[in-house]
Point group: C2
Chain length 205, copies 2
DNA sequence: CGTGACCCTGACCAATTGGTCAATAATTTC
DNA sequence: GAAATTATTGACCAATTGGTCAGGGTCACG
């Protein structure tokens, strides 16, 4: 249980670590790191508290593991820009992918939001290295499209920020969105149309 | 000290309650409700813990007071749409106002974000009544502009969501924005240009 | 079927935390 | 300037929380 990967983990380890991470995801997402208790995590996972601490050395380790796993999934779509594809469609595909992630993985989105909100104490390096690198690469591709006159000229970094903020908004601020819309709305469905419209207009040459 | 407003508060009460609220704002914004401790608040305010609890009955009361005050300021700009003004300029003014609030009151933005992220336990009614009412009023004005052909047709609710999410993003995700941009950037300055461009293109008829 | 490795838990601990209170100090008021 | 009111605090408490540990149960495997 000390090592993260070596000697391929027993069936039980595999199952219980997964239960814990899954339970912890909800608890951390809903209460923040300091607000989450190991007891809550244990209960969410259907295990006893000492048993949780048998699989993870500490609350921090659970959190760190969760964050690390999350980051890969979270950033992957940004690497998929194809310089040879149709620029507008490439961007719209990314927008849709991010929106679907908000819809299908709201807990992950909130976990991430919580972490950044608190100043990203466990993420600053990752942010300044990995994330910056990935974004910079995407920015180069987008800037090239703009220079070729295949996309309207806007600040590429802020284009990306706009996509992140608007798509994640529907996961992170879900209660607010639903409260304002009232019943009888499918926020994500409407958002998809709206964002499609928005980016077509903004990026058309 | 029990009543919130009656018998106009001594000079000392006025001063110390303000100190506490100001300290608490930073602590709650940076740690979430459960993550904040009265000790931290006391220290931030330069008072002893029992003294803090002399002016506010509990941690909850401090938080509630903060949230109530915040909400007024936060929602005010949305009520300022002038049906007789120039539609595009009205919207752009609102965008600018919200962005400046993010820049000048980031703690307030984060406090609010924290609360919504955790499911708005203390705000659900306010959200479903006050907020919804204010938004609905703004939506009527915007929809009228669109019907008159003075603004492009887009879903008004989601137009408002887009403004909220993009402007608040620069306060709430500040560390991420700065990490990605690297040094030598003024996020808010660039954002103002970007958003101006974005909404002009999207809303032009 | 035995033995060693793995799995699980009740009981416990020290630190933190929200909150109380009696006693004391500072201010206001007359 | 003394009484009444308001402000402040050290000491304290009960509950919660992250984490430990000894001991007992269970499983894989020869």
């Amino acid at each position: 249980m000390t090592n993260g990967k070596k000697s391929p983990m027993t069936r039980i380890q595999q199952k219980n670590r997964q239960l814990i991470l899954d339970g912890a995801l909800g608890v951390f997402a809903g209460n923040g790191f300091r607000g989450a208790t190991i007891d809550q995590i244990a209960q969410a996972a259907g295990l006893s508290k000492p048993n949780v601490l048998y699989y993870f050395r500490s609350k921090d380790e659970i959190h760190k593991t969760l964050l690390t796993r999350l980051l890969d999934m979270w950033l992957a779509p940004l690497s998929r820009f194809d310089p040879d594809g149709d620029p507008l469609e490439e961007v719209l595909t990314y927008v849709r992918a991010k929106l679907h992630m908000s819809r299908d993985y709201p807990r992950e989105s909130r976990l991430f939001a919580n972490e950044i909100l608190q100043g990203a104490p466990h993420l600053t390096e990752v942010l300044e290295e990995d994330l910056k690198t990935i974004v910079d690469r995407a920015v180069v591709v987008i800037a090239a499209w703009m220079d070729q006159g295949r996309l309207a000229q806007v600040a590429p970094h802020h284009l990306i920020f706009s996509i992140w903020s608007m798509t994640q908004h529907y996961a992170d601020f879900d209660v607010q969105v639903r409260a304002v819309l009232g019943p009888g709305h499918d926020p994500f469905d409407e958002a998809e149309q709206f964002l499609d419209q928005l980016y077509r207009k903004m990026l058309a040459v």
